[in-house]
């Protein structure tokens, strides 16, 4: 599937805004991404949010990713 990377995350993928990666769940996807781009580790440590068809998941690694989903990776953010 095509995974879109936002801002600072794309730097860890050599500047790519969109990468090809597979995974049935968020956890699998992030694992696959890490194999491909080891520099992603520090971002994973800081926390990553995954938007699947617009819904943002910050913590749930078992969340399934449907076929043809719009998948977008964001840095984890703070609130007030």
């Amino acid at each position: 599937m095509q995974v879109q990377l936002s801002g600072i995350l794309s730097q860890a993928a050599g500047g790519a805004r969109c990468v090809d990666c597979a995974g049935a769940t968020i956890g699998e996807l992030l694992q696959a991404l890490l194999l491909k781009y080891p520099e992603m580790q520090s971002h994973l440590d800081d926390g990553i949010a995954v938007a699947i068809n617009g819904e943002i998941y910050r913590d749930r690694r078992d969340q399934p990713i449907p076929a043809n989903a719009d998948v977008f990776l964001l840095p984890r953010i703070q609130g007030g």
Partner: protein, 753 residues
């Protein structure tokens, strides 16, 4: 997925009613206990010595005289906090902010601490500590700090987010970029392009309760911390990690919290108080003064923002771009990134680009402040939106409606939106009676939109049913705005019992599993979700007890209207069993009845608001009076409408203060000039009118009741709404917040040439 979190469109009998809050009596009688209201036998008074310099090397600290003063039980400096961070830069930044390590980075940076038998002795001891400083060049302005000639705050900072990676130090900690499409092509299609720069000054959350804690830590590594905080579990984890304690051995109890607004999501003095206690082996109470709160705790960023928007004659925006420079104080943050993410989130844009620069300066470490970073970006963007509409000769509301994001829009920060409320809030504004009010001389009206994210996160909740049928719900999210009332309503709704039968308690860190901090408008969203599931868990037990009492299979039992009912013709002779009846029998049917839930409440979604306001500006003095203010916001589902309105009104009032008065004033010496409520003037009762509210309910598809977070978004539009109103009133575009009387007069005079 362990639980079905989808919205079900169920009917409600309790949720949505305006019941009295359960902590009301405690709070109107003075019984409620806040951070500074707890005491322990043998407690000492903790005090902190702070740097008077904006930037200085600490060449020597002599504490010997202070240590010899009778009644002084502990004195600490940076060297008393060994580095246990294992190379974690983020944790080291927290530690260094709590206590300077060889260098003072801002006016108010902690350099030493004492614990003594009383306040007089502690204050005397502070005077006896001799610190030798070597002053260094400083910088407090965000644009100045970005210049190559600026003094470097940290020599280890390399700008992240740029290629190739820099090899020299910079005050720009991070560059972030969001957006899609081709803005050059988009601007080429535009008939009208407006480009403008804006500035906003630094403000403080301004909670009325200063930071306060009572810390006890023994030589065995076991401790207690009573503290005013938005997240006692987070405080526990951070303190334990910085001080080398076992997480389970530090019990943190959240006091009643006298306001937080993001400023109490971070530790400031708590690790110091614990370390003082460990050294003295006595409880230490450490309460900040208001001066310390301003100088050394969480203000928001001051900013400098450029916005460019292009549109066609038909009113469609063809391209939008922004460069946002946010200072994060003396330590890196994510504040410019949040500004870049939120800046254009209200609009449906084909070509959009936001670039954020997170910049270090000699000011206190920036903390989250209610929808952090979004109000400043909204000020700049919504001002230019108004300017483009005016240039096109279009109504500013119609122009926004035409370009509003909707379901399926690719958000400027990346993902695609589900069902969202920006369009409906704008339609509500358009049709609101407020918009028909006639404006008089020197009066102006402004409208602006705002966006913020909602968080879910880790949540753990217990629900215990007493033998009399009353219910205790224990949650781990601190109640900052009335969430106990909302959560009791939810438990009552699920169990089918009276609201008055439920008591909600905020559990300490030893009574529940981890709960994330109450931030990101998550309290009622996430603990509400956990309360629903905990109650449903308890209902399963109630059904089993009823089934056992009747001697029928549990499959034949349903829970309806607060009672177990036996289904099927064969059970016609079995009268229903109420929760009360089942609870009364519980000691003999298997013991206590409880429900429990731990959940990662994801899918919180996003939140939108549109505000309108009328102002009158006195052309002689430059003073602005808010004549009327109206908030329209999507709440998903308002569990307790009073407290949803309260969030709308409170956020608007904070925004009004930010827009018109509040600002940190630094002198050329890098020192804060106005660290008190007299000179840092937050809105008082006579400054404001009644603040009208309209709650929209566009259900969040990812919450069983459709709930969205409501706490933060209301502070996003006011800067821009008031900026647009003042600009319309005086006929000059305001580009600098706060729009204090001198700034307005200056703008009027400049326009008159």
């Amino acid at each position: 997925m362990p639980y079905e979190t989808d919205y079900t469109n169920q009917g409600f009998s309790k949720v949505g009613t305006r019941v009295n809050r359960p902590d009301g009596v405690d709070k109107v009688t003075g019984r409620a206990k806040y951070g500074a209201d707890a005491n322990a036998a043998g407690q000492l008074v903790g005090r902190i010595l702070r740097s008077p310099h904006a930037h200085a090397l600490i060449t020597k600290i002599d504490t010997s005289k202070a240590e010899k003063l009778p009644g002084v039980k502990a004195v600490l400096t940076g060297k008393d906090f060994p580095d246990l961070t294992g190379g974690d830069r983020g944790m080291m930044n927290i530690l260094e902010n709590c206590m300077a390590r060889g260098r003072a980075l801002y006016d108010g940076h902690a350099v030493a601490a004492v614990a003594a038998i009383d306040a007089d002795t502690a204050n005397e001891a502070l005077k006896l500590i001799k610190v030798t400083y070597k002053q260094l060049p400083h910088v407090t302005d965000v644009d100045e700090a970005m210049k190559p000639s600026a003094p470097i705050i940290h020599d280890w900072v390399r700008t992240t987010g740029v290629t190739p990676a820099p090899t020299t130090a910079s005050n720009v900690a991070q560059r972030t970029e969001f957006g899609h499409g081709d803005i050059d092509a988009g601007f080429a299609q535009a008939d009208v392009i407006i480009e403008k720069s804006f500035k906003t000054e630094q403000t403080h959350q301004g909670y009325i309760e200063p930071h306060a804690c009572l810390a006890t830590l023994g030589p065995d590594g076991s401790g207690e911390l009573w503290v005013t905080t938005q997240g006692h579990f987070t405080f526990r984890n951070v303190c334990a990690s910085l001080l080398g304690l076992d997480v389970a051995k530090l019990r943190v109890t959240a006091s009643e919290i006298g306001g937080g607004f993001g400023g109490k999501t971070h530790v400031w003095t708590e690790p110091v108080a614990l370390q003082l206690s460990r050294r003295a082996n006595r409880p230490v109470k450490l309460v900040m003064s208001r001066d310390e709160v301003f100088k050394a705790t969480g203000p928001t960023s001051s900013t400098s923002v450029d916005v460019k928007i292009g549109a066609k004659r038909n009113g469609k925006i063809t391209a939008a771009s922004a460069e946002l420079r946010y200072q994060s104080g003396a330590f890196p943050g994510m504040w410019a990134m949040l500004g870049a993410m939120t800046s254009f989130a209200c609009y449906d844009l084909k070509n959009v680009k936001s670039v954020g620069f997170d910049v270090l300066v000699n000011r206190p470490k920036v903390a989250a402040y209610r929808a952090p970073s979004a109000p400043m970006a909204a000020f700049a963007v919504e001002s230019v939106v108004d300017m483009v509409a005016a240039e096109l000769g279009m109504d500013a509301v119609e122009f926004r409606i035409k370009n509003a994001a909707k379901k399926g829009t690719k958000a400027s920060y990346g993902p695609v939106y589900g069902p969202i409320g920006i369009g409906p809030t704008l339609e509500a504004v358009k049709n609101h009676p407020h918009m028909k009010r006639k404006l008089g001389k020197n009066q102006g009206r402004g409208v602006a939109c705002g966006f913020w994210f909602n968080f879910g996160g880790q949540t753990c909740t217990d629900l215990n049913i007493g033998v009399d049928g009353s219910v205790n719900l224990t949650v781990g999210t601190v109640d900052v705005g009335g969430s106990r009332a909302s959560l009791a309503l939810i438990a009552a709704e699920e169990l089918g019992i009276d609201y008055e039968q439920v008591r909600v308690t905020i559990g300490d860190t030893n009574s529940l599993g981890h709960n994330d901090t109450t931030e990101g408008s998550r309290g009622t969203f996430s603990s509400g979700m956990a309360a629903i599931f905990a109650a449903r868990d308890a209902v399963e037990v109630l059904k089993q007890r009823a089934a056992a009492t009747w001697g029928i299979p549990v499959e034949q039992v349903v829970w309806e209207a607060g009672e177990a009912r036996a289904k099927g013709k064969q059970n016609n002779n079995l009268p229903p069993l109420s929760l009360k009846e089942i609870a009364a029998k519980s000691p003999r049917t298997g013991g206590p009845i409880a429900g429990h839930n731990e959940v990662v409440a994801d899918g919180a979604g996003v939140s939108f608001a549109s505000h309108m306001c009328d102002v009158e500006v006195d052309p002689e003095t430059g003073a602005t009076k808010i004549l009327r203010y109206t908030v329209v916001q999507d709440a998903g589902k308002a569990i307790h409408p009073d407290y949803v309105e309260g969030q709308f009104q409170g956020g608007a009032a904070q925004g009004i203060g930010w827009a018109l008065n509040e600002e940190y004033v630094y002198g050329d010496d890098g020192r804060l000039q106005n660290a008190g409520f007299l000179d840092y003037r937050i809105p008082v009762c006579s400054d404001l009118p009644f603040i009208d509210t309209q709650i929209l309910e566009i259900p969040n598809p990812n919450h069983p009741y459709g709930v969205r977070g409501v706490g933060e978004t209301s502070i996003v539009p006011p800067l821009a709404a008031i900026g647009n109103a003042v600009s319309n009133a005086v006929g000059v575009r305001m580009d600098h917040v706060p729009m204090s009387p001198p700034r307005i007069l200056k703008a009027i005079e400049a326009a008159q040439g």
